[in-house]
Symmetry: C2
Subunit: 337 residues, 2 copies
Amino acid sequence: MMKRKRVHRPIDPNHLAEGILKGDRSILAQSITLVESNAERHFEAAQSLLEKVLSKRTGSIRIGITGVPGAGKSTFIDTFGTYLCKKGHKVAVLAVDPTSHVSKGSILGDKTRMERLSINPDAFIRPSPSSGTLGGVSRKTRETMLLCEAAGFDIILIETMGVGQGEYLVRGMVDFFLLLVLTGAGDELQTMKKGIMELPDLVVVNKADGGNLQLAKKAVQEYSTMLHFLKPYTEGWTTDALPASALKETGIREIWEKIEAFQKATKESGLFANRRRGQQKDWLHESIKDELLHAFYKNPSVMERLSAAEQNIAEEKAAVSSLVKELVDDFLKSRLF
Amino acid sequence: MMKRKRVHRPIDPNHLAEGILKGDRSILAQSITLVESNAERHFEAAQSLLEKVLSKRTGSIRIGITGVPGAGKSTFIDTFGTYLCKKGHKVAVLAVDPTSHVSKGSILGDKTRMERLSINPDAFIRPSPSSGTLGGVSRKTRETMLLCEAAGFDIILIETMGVGQGEYLVRGMVDFFLLLVLTGAGDELQTMKKGIMELPDLVVVNKADGGNLQLAKKAVQEYSTMLHFLKPYTEGWTTDALPASALKETGIREIWEKIEAFQKATKESGLFANRRRGQQKDWLHESIKDELLHAFYKNPSVMERLSAAEQNIAEEKAAVSSLVKELVDDFLKSRLF
């Protein structure tokens, strides 16, 4: 195959910023592609664009949505998002999948996943950025969220995909976190990630319809018992379990009312703003850590010495502290990066 | 007050290593003080000592013990440790308290906390190292554990003190983790750290004696129900709840039998050795991270610029990524450390 030489058009952050603030969806999409780019030459333009739109954003609520496999996340988001648009909101749906290495669009791109929402003029759906590192996905999603807010989207739904650390990542960037489950709490929880039950502000038992309705009600009971044992993630807030059917569109209003009550309570108590400030600081320090570690581990001399030492360490035959001190000191003094 | 000029006696790692391998308790205590020292001039001697004794250690089991306040941890360890000594084991008790800034000895030093064990010739009790950082406490405790093993202690009990990240720290350095609780599971768990129920390999309901016996049995039931919902920390192992009374010395044998069964099962499956190897590797990479971050945050130019930027970041008025890239790049190029 012949490789075409790419011509790089100059990127104008001012032009993009204007488009975003006007709510131009095509420019928003282009801008997200820019912040998602791993190319170094895109970094400065993306950051400059962010600086321009950051102060222009208005209020929003960021809602994380996770669920066990088969819980019907896509249908739920389709129904819930459509409901919110009808109520006059502008809804952006982002996905986070730290395990995704496939090309963009293959996961969420087939718009069939969210049939109604994908054609709704008040909704904007964006698939997960594909990236090798957790930190990369985190940065891209956070920055995408900021761009969406600048473009006037006041409800951001962030969906976790796949397994791994996605749930913690998303919990760390949202105001409210919703866990979607099915009937059969005990069995289901056995297959769930450790600690996941500690994260949500609301548990929704989906598919509470037809012949499944009684089982779903029982599951709501089981989850309520379970949640009673656990400390809620948000101080002063009780994490409840509610039944819903995304298919039959029941229980959706109750979910939104719960989220509105949460917003009201946490805004009054100051927790809402405090959590956002805390998340920003955490992001700053997480990014610093990622950047430093990245520089360290990609250093050729570090790589060579580390692999040789790891075996001795694993067998408890070498002292960890002296090895680490030597490696880090040499790295910082090497000036080879 | 006049400051006396300290005369530093030279430290001979060979002498210390010999003493440890002979099981000399006084030299063991001195050596632990050496690895706990924050003085730079002690670092090399401590590491040299560790290198000398590392390969001389024999088999051991490391047991982490945590508990809700008032669960009777000290009495439990006193009884449990005494029981193990009677069975012919040598037991070292270490404590981990990442929040402790007080001088050594004030927590565990008053030997009244563990009356019988503290005078048992087969037991060795050491208070938590006082240190400002989580990484510091972690390193000191791990290295102390290695020294104790070299001195012939085949059972290491590591007690978590205070609140905070102590439980995770200890879980990451032991083979088996025991959670001590009281009656009233629901209320108790509400006050416990998030995620703590995901950590233990065994839950012990203490004070199952006298008028409390029936309540304790009920709590064992409640915890069993609860644990059924959760994924056990150790794959292939079922985390059970057992009643015990450290005061009346009942249920102690059953606990040890459970730990022996755990040892047997995980050694046969290879999980025991794998977990230790994994813990060593985690320690290595944790230490690298700590060392790099420490160098970064103590850099004066970083400190100055960071505090100025943090406010803007918290208000979502500045772009995190560009700031971080600039800070880290400048740090790595500054050659000022």
